[in-house]
C-alpha cells in the first residue's frame, strides 16, 4: 500500500536535544526551567504542551508556561512529584533534556478578541494559563484571574500576579491554608467565580486545575450564565506518544493529545461527571 512520502518522513517520536538555560524555584517542590528554543517552538501557543525527556529516566507531558514566540526561549514549570518530573526539575543550567512538540490544541485566543476573559486556575494549573494572560495583557485587554493555591508559599508566579494587578488585571487569589500574614481569601476557588462574571453573554472562561476543581468551577460559570461553548477547560490524562498513536490519553471519545488538552465544556461536560473515565 502507498503512504505519501511527506507523511512517512514525519517521526514525531524522536526528541531533539535541548539545553537548559536557567532554573529557578517557584515553590517548595515546583521549578521553572528556561530551555533553548528551536524553530518548532514558535508554534507553542498558550495551552499547548511539549513532551520532555529526562534521558534514561522517562518522558512526561508539560505545558508551556511561557510564550516562546515572544520570549525567544521556552519556559516549563514542573512540580517534582514522580521519577521523571523530579529528574527534570533537578536539571541544572547547561544540562541537556529531550524535547518533542508542541502538541495539542491550546486556548482559543483568536476567538476571544473583544470579550471578557475570566481565567480560573488551581495550583500548577496556572502554568498553562500564564502565557494566555500575558498575551491578553500585551494586546491591551484586562482579563480576570481567579487563582487557588494550597498555601501562600505554594502560590506560583507571584511576580506576574503583582505585575498583572499593576496593569489592571483583577486577580483574586485564595489558599487552602494560610498563616496570619495572608490577607486574601481562604477556601476553594469556585465560590469566587460568580461575582467576577459581570456580562455572562460576553464572557469566555479558561479553566485549568485539578479535575474536581474544574468540575465545580464549570458549574459555577454555568450558574453565572456563561455558555458551555464559552467555557474552555484543560484536561489531563496519561500521555505517551502525544501524536494520537498510543491510546493513553483517551477521555471518552477524545484523544486529548490531538483533540485537547483544551476542550470546550460543551463537548466534555457529561464526561466530567463520570468517575474514572
Amino acid at each position: 500500500m502507498a503512504i505519501p512520502a511527506e507523511r512517512r518522513m514525519v517521526d514525531a517520536t524522536t526528541p531533539r536535544p535541548a539545553r537548559v538555560l536557567s532554573r529557578r524555584r517557584e515553590a517548595e517542590d515546583v521549578w521553572t526551567l528556561a530551555v533553548e528554543a528551536g524553530p518548532q517552538d514558535l508554534d507553542a501557543a498558550p495551552g499547548r504542551f511539549a513532551m520532555l525527556t529526562a534521558f534514561g529516566v522517562g518522558e512526561i507531558p508539560v505545558s508551556y508556561s511561557g510564550d516562546p514566540a515572544a520570549e525567544g526561549r521556552v519556559i516549563h514549570t514542573i512540580r517534582a512529584v514522580g521519577a521523571v518530573s523530579r529528574a527534570l526539575a533537578g536539571l541544572e543550567e547547561g544540562a541537556m533534556l529531550g524535547v518533542r512538540g508542541p502538541f495539542g490544541k491550546g486556548w482559543p485566543l483568536a476567538e476571544v478578541e473583544g470579550r471578557e476573559v475570566i481565567a480560573v486556575a488551581g495550583g500548577l494549573g496556572l502554568a498553562p494559563v500564564r502565557p494566555a494572560i500575558r498575551r491578553l495583557v500585551a494586546r491591551g485587554e484586562r482579563p480576570t484571574l481567579v487563582y487557588g493555591a494550597r498555601s501562600p508559599a505554594q502560590a506560583l508566579f507571584r511576580e506576574d500576579l503583582a505585575d498583572w494587578r499593576a496593569r489592571g488585571v483583577e486577580v483574586e487569589a485564595t489558599v487552602d491554608h494560610a498563616g496570619p500574614d495572608w490577607r486574601g481569601h481562604v477556601g476553594v476557588v469556585p465560590p469566587l467565580i460568580a461575582r467576577r462574571v459581570r456580562d455572562p453573554a460576553r464572557t469566555v472562561a479558561f479553566v485549568c486545575g485539578p479535575e474536581v476543581m474544574m468540575r465545580f468551577a464549570a458549574s459555577a460559570l454555568l450558574e453565572a450564565g456563561v455558555a458551555a461553548e464559552a467555557i474552555h477547560i484543560s484536561m489531563e490524562r496519561n500521555m505517551k506518544c502525544a501524536v494520537g498513536l498510543c491510546g493513553h490519553c483517551q477521555f471518552g471519545g477524545d484523544l486529548l493529545c490531538r483533540d485537547g488538552p483544551v476542550a470546550p465544556l460543551a463537548r466534555v461536560a457529561d464526561r466530567l461527571h463520570v468517575a474514572e473515565l
Partner: protein, 373 residues
C-alpha cells in the same frame, strides 16, 4: 483483476511460497505449534498445519486432528498478524551523552518485507483498522508504515469458523473482500487440496501469472462458493444488532459491575485482539547513564499504570478499565477512526481465562438496565 478464477495445486502453492521467498519476502504462515496454530516462517506447504483444525469456546482453544488433510482447516491462530506489523517491542531511539552534548539516533526503519500466507477476512479487516489508526492521522507510525507498505497478503477464505467467531454479524467475513494481493479458497478432496486463486492487486496478478495453474471449471467455482456459504452457516456467534454507541449513554449500567466481578483485568483480550494498538514506552540506561534508549511496547488499558497521572491511576477499578476497553472497542473507536474496533474474530472470547464473551455482554447491555436491575 476480473480475470477468471485459477486453480493451484498444492505444488502450485509451493511455487507461490518459493516465488515470494525468491523475491525477498520473509514468508510467514500458519504452522502447527505446541497446541495451537502459530504464525511463523514457512518455506513450503510441508510447514502448514495439514490435517489440523481448532476448537474454540469461551476460555478454551484446542487443536483437533482432521481426517480430510486440509491445509487451512482451522479458524484462527491465537496471535494475529499484529505481532509482525506492530510488534510487541521495538526500539525507537538511542542516545549517547558525551561532554555535555547528546547524540540522539533514531532506530533505523525496518527493512524486512513480509508476505503473509493464510490471512482470514476478519484479519484483513483488522489490518485495515490498524491502518486507519496508525497511518490515517496527521502523524503516522513510521515503523508500521515501513512494514505495511511492503506487505504481500495471501488471504485464504475461512471454511470452518470456530464457535467463538462472529465475523458475519460484523460484516467483516467470512469471505475475503479487499486488502489482499491473492485470495485462495481451499477445495479439500480425497486426492488432496486444490486452491481457487484470484488476484486482488496488480502485484498479486503478476505473481499468479508466474505460477503453474489452470482456469477453474464452473464446478470448482461453485464448490468455492459452497465453502464460503458453509462457513457463513457454521458461524458460532453473532454480535447483537443495534448501534453499539448506545453503550456511552449508560456508563453507570449495573452490567459494568457484573462483568467487573468476573474480569481478572489480565489484559489477555488486548494482547490477542488484532486491532488493539495501545503502546507505552520504556526508557533504559546503562550504569553510567551515558547510553540511554527508548523502546515502545504493547500496553493494555487493563493495566493500572495505563491511566497513571501524578497522584494515582484515573481508572483504578477493574470496572472502569473493562468499561474503557469495551466502550473504546465498539463505540468511541468509531468517533476516533471512523470504524469499529471489533472485527468479530472472537479471540477475546477464547483467550479470556474466565470466558467473558463480548457478544453476551453486548446482549446484556442491549437488553436494557431495567431487565438487569
Amino acid at each position: 483483476m476480473n480475470a477468471p478464477d485459477l486453480v493451484l495445486t498444492v505444488e502450485g502453492l509451493d511455487a507461490l511460497i518459493s516465488a515470494l521467498a525468491g523475491t525477498g519476502f520473509r514468508v510467514i504462515g500458519p504452522t502447527p505449534g505446541e497446541g495451537a496454530i502459530v504464525h511463523d516462517d514457512v518455506s513450503s506447504t510441508d510447514d502448514l498445519p495439514r490435517g489440523w483444525g481448532d476448537e474454540q469456546a469461551p476460555g478454551r482453544y484446542r487443536l483437533r486432528p482432521r481426517d480430510d488433510g486440509a491445509l487451512f482447516g482451522y479458524a484462527l491462530a491465537p496471535q494475529s498478524w499484529k505481532r509482525f506489523l506492530h510488534p510487541p517491542r521495538e526500539r525507537l531511539w538511542s542516545a549517547r551523552r558525551e561532554g555535555g552534548e547528546v547524540d540522539l539516533r533514531p532506530a533505523p526503519l525496518p527493512e524486512e518485507r513480509f508476505a503473509f500466507i493464510g490471512v482470514r477476512a476478519c484479519e484483513l479487516k483488522a489490518i485495515a483498522v490498524q491502518d486507519r489508526v496508525l497511518l490515517g492521522g496527521a502523524h503516522v507510525d513510521a515503523r508500521y508504515a515501513a512494514r505495511r507498505s511492503s506487505l504481500f497478503v495471501v488471504a485464504v477464505n475461512c471454511a470452518d469458523p470456530a464457535a467463538t467467531c462472529f465475523c458475519s454479524s460484523m460484516q467483516t467475513g467470512p469471505e475475503v473482500g479487499e486488502g489482499h494481493d491473492v485470495v485462495l479458497t481451499e477445495l479439500v478432496s480425497a486426492e488432496g487440496s486444490r486452491f481457487l486463486a484470484r488476484a486482488g492487486s496488480e502485484a498479486g496478478a503478476a505473481m499468479l501469472a508466474g505460477l503453474p495453474s489452470r482456469p477453474a471449471t464452473p464446478r470448482e467455482v461453485a464448490a468455492g462458493a459452497e465453502v464460503i456459504a458453509g462457513a457463513e452457516a457454521r458461524m458460532g456467534r453473532a454480535m447483537p444488532p443495534g448501534d453499539p454507541r448506545a453503550l456511552l449513554a449508560d456508563l453507570e449500567h449495573p452490567r459494568w459491575d457484573d462483568v467487573a466481578a468476573r474480569c481478572l483485568t489480565c489484559g489477555a483480550c488486548t494482547q490477542v485482539c488484532p486491532t488493539c494498538f495501545c503502546t507505552t514506552v520504556e526508557d533504559t540506561s546503562d550504569l553510567s547513564g551515558r547510553e540511554t534508549a527508548r523502546d515502545q511496547r504493547w500496553d493494555s488499558c487493563f493495566a493500572t499504570e495505563f491511566s497513571f497521572i501524578h497522584g494515582g491511576a484515573v481508572r483504578a477499578s477493574g470496572r472502569s478499565r473493562y468499561r474503557q476497553w469495551l466502550t473504546h472497542k465498539l463505540a468511541t473507536w468509531i468517533e476516533q477512526f471512523g470504524t469499529s474496533g471489533c472485527v468479530g474474530c472472537g479471540r477475546c472470547i477464547a483467550w479470556c481465562p474466565v470466558g467473558i464473551d463480548i457478544t453476551e455482554e453486548m446482549a446484556a447491555f442491549a437488553a436494557g438496565p431495567e431487565d438487569e436491575r
